[in-house]
């Protein structure tokens, strides 16, 4: 005979030695004498470090002073953040004229505006938006940053970019609020949504031409003051170089990787040689070659500025690294996928674009983002060839007569800045991985 209880006994909570903070401490940190000693020693070391950083960096630090000598007068043991604060504009914008800095900020905001729709759900045509970011935005930003006389080509590109940006913004707003698209909207308000396809196309082209001409006429009237590239610097320059490097690396890498796996011997040999050549020399060598030797091979009077040389070098170098990342991703896709694609009648580009690449790119995300982070960090090498990127600016602080010898604080500030940027990129990559994951988990 057993004792049967009609109601289920409620589960008891875990014993205190298991569930509580104290219990966790006991199990993980103080489980034996040796572990206890280790824990105490480690805690002591952490305490010393944190206290040192606290005392130097905050408690004794000087936040406002006219010069390093004044910092010393106030406190000899603390950090002199006043120098970094005094130089903030230079750290972020380099030698850019101070009254024109808004142009950089607006240029940056435009990029955010341009790319924001990519992250908004329900917006259609994201591929086109992405492509315009790569092909049109640089002209608009380039003009904002450098200014000066607009050539006819620049006028056309700037106008196209503005039309495109306005279109994207309206399109994204319509998509988000009305679950519609710009095309549908335009057709509806012109009343052409019921007419024939050819008619619709003509209406749209007409609207586009009208918008373009309007913007073109409008932009002819304004002009920015010219700012030569030699005045670009700081974090802004780092972003320009690494941004173009990142934008170019992925498409360049995909093309090179496909070339290397191609069955056409010439393309294969060329791609392989190119990749291996650039991959087997350090970036600093490529940079030196680009800025020192390259001009020697050019005909007389042919001059491209150092910034362009550097950007080309960074792009080519990183495309080669990216090519190998992409190739690794391609190898990981089973051959059956490719054969399957062929059997349903897809050609080479169809197979690659619709079947192989989407799968491959997804598995490559951690590596791709790793490369992007690498590009951002490698870009600081340009300070060695005399460009005043963020590292160049941080180092220049210690040479300014007022802040002579101040080098710990700027470099620490730079390290913190880079940590934030790189960590954000890394976090975003993890998020992207999780979002795109099609694995059957759980």
């Amino acid at each position: 005979m057993g004792i049967v209880n009609a109601t289920k006994t409620p589960a008891r909570s875990a014993p205190l030695s298991e569930g509580s903070v104290l219990g966790w401490l006991r199990i993980n940190l103080f489980s034996s004498v040796a572990n206890t000693i280790l824990t105490v020693v480690a805690l002591y070391i952490i305490f010393l470090l944190v206290r040192g950083i606290w005392v130097w960096g905050i408690q004794e630090a000087v936040w406002s002073a006219e010069s390093r000598r004044e910092c010393f007068k106030i406190s000899k043991e603390g950090a002199c953040w006043a120098g970094v604060i005094n130089w903030l504009d230079s750290i972020f914008y380099g030698r850019y004229p101070r009254e024109e800095i808004w142009r950089i900020n607006v240029g940056g905001l435009l990029l955010v505006l341009w790319m924001a729709p990519l992250w908004i759900p329900r917006v259609k045509g994201k591929v086109i938006i992405g492509l315009t970011t790569v092909f049109l935005y640089p002209f608009l930003a380039g003009y904002f940053f450098s200014g000066g006389e607009k050539g006819i080509f620049m006028q056309v590109m700037v106008s196209a970019a503005i039309v495109c940006l306005v279109a994207i913004t309206i399109h994204a707003a319509l998509g988000f609020f009305a679950n519609s698209s710009l095309l549908q909207f335009l057709l509806r308000i012109t009343g052409a949504d019921k007419s024939s396809e050819k008619n619709q196309r003509n209406v749209l082209l007409g609207l586009l031409a009208a918008a373009f001409i309007g913007v073109f006429v409008w932009q002819m009237s304004w002009q920015f003051e010219s700012v030569t590239w030699t005045k670009w610097g700081g974090l802004f320059l780092t972003f320009v170089i690494s941004g173009i490097g990142i934008a170019f690396a992925l498409p360049g890498g995909i093309i090179l990787a496909l070339g290397r796996r191609s069955k056409l011997p010439v393309i294969k040999v060329l791609s392989t040689t190119f990749i291996e050549l650039f991959r087997s020399v350090p970036l600093i060598t490529v940079l030196f070659m680009a800025t020192t030797m390259f001009p020697l091979f050019m005909p007389d009077g042919f001059a491209i500025n150092k910034l362009v040389q550097v950007i080309i070098a960074v792009c080519l170098f990183n495309a080669c690294y990216m090519a190998e990342v992409v190739r690794a991703g391609l190898q990981a896709i089973p051959k059956g996928q490719e054969e399957g694609a062929y059997t349903i009648g897809l050609g080479y580009w169809g197979t690659m674009g619709l079947i192989i690449m989407p799968q491959a790119l997804k598995v490559m995300i951690p590596n791709i983002v790793g490369s992007f982070i690498g590009i951002l960090k490698d870009t600081t090498l340009v300070s060695i060839i005399g460009l005043f990127d963020i590292l160049g600016m941080l180092r220049a602080i210690s040479e300014d007569v007022f802040w002579r010898g101040l080098h710990h604080e700027p470099l620490l500030f730079g390290a913190a800045l880079f940590f934030i940027l790189c960590f954000a990129m890394s976090k975003y990559s993890r998020h992207l991985e999780a979002k795109l994951s099609t694995d059957h988990k759980d």
Binding site: P295, L296, V401
Partner: protein, 348 residues
């Protein structure tokens, strides 16, 4: 940074190879014409270095070598702001000049025979005499460089400073052991923290380093100078007129100081001075400007806008607000009338 050094030599070799070709092709148009047509002067300085050329927090260049750039711009255009300062690393400095990226070089480049004769560049005239010296802690008891027997000396690597130190140690049998650094901030820090018995650098650099220490009074610079570092602006080889312009820009600043012409009294001097040399120099009489291809008031513009040699020295090298505190009195950089080496040929 071995690779940087290797590349430096490759780049230099390249410079030697092209310099011949470049200078012959560039002779079609004189540098002065090119500069005037462009509308501004391209003047090359180095990576920021206190006293000579640094950036301030607003992004402007300042320093004694920058003043030479401004003076040449003032001479050519009558406006010292028609100037683009280019900052180049040491590795690229001569090739950038020889290849025509910059019109002139005004940076701490030591005038040597090899550079003058083999790199496709010409040095004009010395505007600062530097020399390598030592700094020690006052309480170390070291009073002379000869006391450094067996000492550990902090030195930057990959520079002539390191080679001079080795020569000095060998010549005097001192058995000095060098402690080398890539980064000068780290070198200074190591010295201050007691990692070396002494630190060696150009004396201008030592003075500037010392001023940046938390307790500058605990250190002293030894009297010996173990190397000759005459620093001079340089131009591309082959355009003598341009070289004359740069050379006489420096000369006019020295001559102005010698004759008591300053940026403050130059207007008065031009109209009222009885000194024929000053009158010729400032263009009040004669036609000394013609050979240079400059306007009559070229020298006036230099002095008015930039100042004479002494003013510039005081401002950036001396005890001025922006200065790095190198005493001029009794040094080689004093005027020849005061026992120094600063001497301008006559204006006639």
């Amino acid at each position: 940074m071995k690779i940087t050094k290797l590349l430096t030599s490759v780049a230099t070799a390249g410079a030697i190879l092209v310099s011949g070709a470049v200078s012959s092709s560039a002779s079609a148009e004189s540098t002065l014409e090119t500069v005037k047509k462009r509308g501004h002067l391209r003047c090359q300085v180095g990576q920021p270095q206190p006293g000579f050329y640094n950036l301030d927090s607003k992004g402007n260049w300042y320093g004694s070598d920058v003043s030479i750039c401004q003076a040449v711009a003032a001479a050519v255009f009558g406006d010292k702001t028609k100037l683009e300062i280019q900052s180049t690393t040491s590795a690229k400095r001569f090739i950038a000049l020889a290849a025509g990226d910059s019109d002139m070089l005004s940076r701490t480049a030591t005038w040597t025979l090899l550079r003058d004769s083999q790199l496709g560049i010409d040095f004009t005239t010395v505007n600062f005499y530097d020399g390598q010296g030592f700094m020690v802690r006052k309480d170390s008891g070291i009073k002379s460089a000869m006391d450094l027997k067996g000492a550990k000396v902090c030195v930057s690597t990959g520079t002539t400073t390191e080679l001079n130190l080795a020569d000095f140690s060998r010549t005097n049998n001192l058995n000095i052991s060098p402690v080398t650094f890539e980064d000068k901030n780290v070198r200074n820090q190591t010295y201050v923290k007691g990692g070396c018995d002494a630190m060696t650098n150009d004396k201008s650099g030592l003075a500037s380093n010392k001023a940046a220490f938390a307790n500058p009074d605990e250190h002293m610079i030894l009297p010996e100078t173990i190397s000759k570092e005459p620093l001079a602006p340089a131009v591309r080889h082959g355009d003598n007129q341009w070289a004359d312009i740069v050379r006489w820009t420096v000369n006019v600043m020295i001559a102005a100081e010698e004759n008591g012409v300053t940026s403050a009294n130059v207007d008065d001097m031009r109209t009222n001075s009885k000194n024929p040399s000053v009158r010729r120099m400032l263009g009040a009489e004669g036609n000394l400007n013609e050979g240079l291809g400059l306007s009559k008031d070229w020298a006036y513009n230099i002095i008015k806008q930039v100042g004479n040699y002494g003013e510039v020295y005081e401002k950036y090298m001396g005890d001025g607000k922006l200065g790095i505190g190198i005493p001029r009195k009794g040094s080689q950089n004093a005027l020849w009338t005061k026992g120094g080496l600063m001497y301008s040929p006559p204006f006639r």
